[in-house]
Symmetry: C2
Subunit: 277 residues, 2 copies
């Protein structure tokens, strides 16, 4: 299916005490796209995107955040968003990638935004999938008081079920058993510690990311499921501050668009990426 020159290497990159798992797909002379998964995600969640983007001729690098599946937590069990940005910076330095575009889902898009704001000469474009560069409101994060409690008390499998049964954003996945099974399979590979730390890191999104993106040359694209209230609101606010951002709304979809609508997502993604040339 792939041409012979396409190679894949999966490896660990060690920065301080964080051993970051990453996969490097395709020709390393091709243009690099970096994929960053959401909280409770990992490289597995991108399997459609990796295969489709590879066929379109990109080099695709996907890695796992602290405490998610094959990346460890390091010496301590708490981190800020800036720590996650530093981890990405170390990884790109290690891979000797000087310019790239970054595709991030949810927390992954926040990392992409902060990275592009901090290293404007290294990032041509960011694609935010159900994500935004704006600071959350306090109420947006309150649901995680309960998710953390369930995770700590009952474990990550119980949290996956709790999310599927309780949250609008994941309840849609139950309509298709393949979707809910896939969600369970990916989500339960997250460590409780990683989940807790990541949801608390959401409080540490800096205030000036949009402002910094405005003064950079980095293109900003965004995709949001119409039923994802929080990110629909945050992206609407972002669009007001940054009218040049291209925003696509995927009707009848919620937070987990990657799982629910891979084909539609890919079409929008390619439409964005074509504008980079």
């Amino acid at each position: 299916m792939y041409t012979a020159k396409i190679t894949m290497s999966s490896s660990y990159f060690l920065a301080d005490t964080i051993k970051t798992y990453y996969e490097d797909h395709g020709d390393n002379r091709s243009y690099p796209l970096i994929l960053i998964h959401p909280i409770g995600g990992n490289v597995l969640i991108w399997h459609h995107e990796i295969s489709l983007l590879l066929k379109s001729g990109f080099r695709v690098i996907a890695y796992e955040l602290r405490g998610h599946y094959r990346t460890n937590m390091g010496k301590v069990g708490a981190y800020t968003m800036q720590d996650l940005v530093n981890d990405l910076h170390q990884l790109l330095k290690h891979l000797n990638i000087k310019r790239c575009s970054i595709i991030g889902h949810s927390i992954g898009g926040i990392i992409a935004s902060m990275y592009a704001a901090q290293f404007p000469d290294s990032v041509d474009a960011i694609v935010l999938i159900n994500s935004s560069p704006r600071k959350f409101e306090e109420k947006d994060l309150e649901k995680h008081f309960k998710t953390r409690e369930v995770a700590i008390r009952d474990g990550i499998e119980a949290l996956a079920e709790y999310k599927l049964q309780t949250f609008d954003e994941t309840r849609d996945l139950l309509k298709d058993k393949r979707h809910s099974d896939f969600f369970r399979d990916v989500f339960t590979k997250t460590s409780v510690e990683g989940f807790v730390a990541a949801t608390i890191a959401l409080y540490t999104v800096p205030e000036n990311v949009v402002e910094k993106l405005q003064t950079s040359n980095c293109k900003v694209f965004a995709i949001v499921g119409s039923d994802d209230d929080v990110f629909t609101r945050l992206l609407k606010e972002t669009k007001e501050e940054m009218p040049e951002m291209e925003l696509k709304v995927l009707d009848g979809s919620d937070h987990w668009v990657i799982i629910e609508k891979p084909k539609e997502m890919y079409d929008i993604l390619m439409n964005f990426l074509r504008k980079l040339q």
Copy 2:
């Protein structure tokens, strides 16, 4: 020195996976004061206050926050301010304390404020020592990017030295060897994990604490060292919103007033506590 009926018990209280260390000094029929230490502190830091408040006839309960000296971190290495408030709630329930006043230094005062805002019928007064019920500004917390890095990379002893040599707030302690030795002795009993988690928890202070305190009957007193810029500013802003708060400024003192000026602090404290009757 103490009368016979004064007893002290030190014990652990277990809530979920958190084993909270606490000391319960004095007659349990006396009015209870709860002491909450700052980040990098523990029960040792209150030794002057415990002895003086005991002689004044109070029951004095001091405990240690997650990851600080004799209290463990539990299953995960990250927590929010609300988790610390819940720990205090569990402890007071365990001790069957229905009404009390709370004295908190720095993060301890934030916990006191949030607790009083949430349980207005349980708290007669809070005393904030270099602390405030207001949310921090982003820049107030930026110094901890460096302190966390030092702690994780070089350990807690190195962080104690770094703080003593670098920070205005602790540099004053070097003027008196007894102060700096005492600071080192207390501070280095903190776990790296506890320090990191607590500094990140500072991002999670809710916005509406002052508002809730205004509508409660809880009296609010505050003491601040004149050289502590952050808390002087935050307390000035608090005073504007809540003019009934009594604020005392301790001239020529910084963040570690407990260590630097125990006598002056005690006089102000007793002056506050006399108003409770």
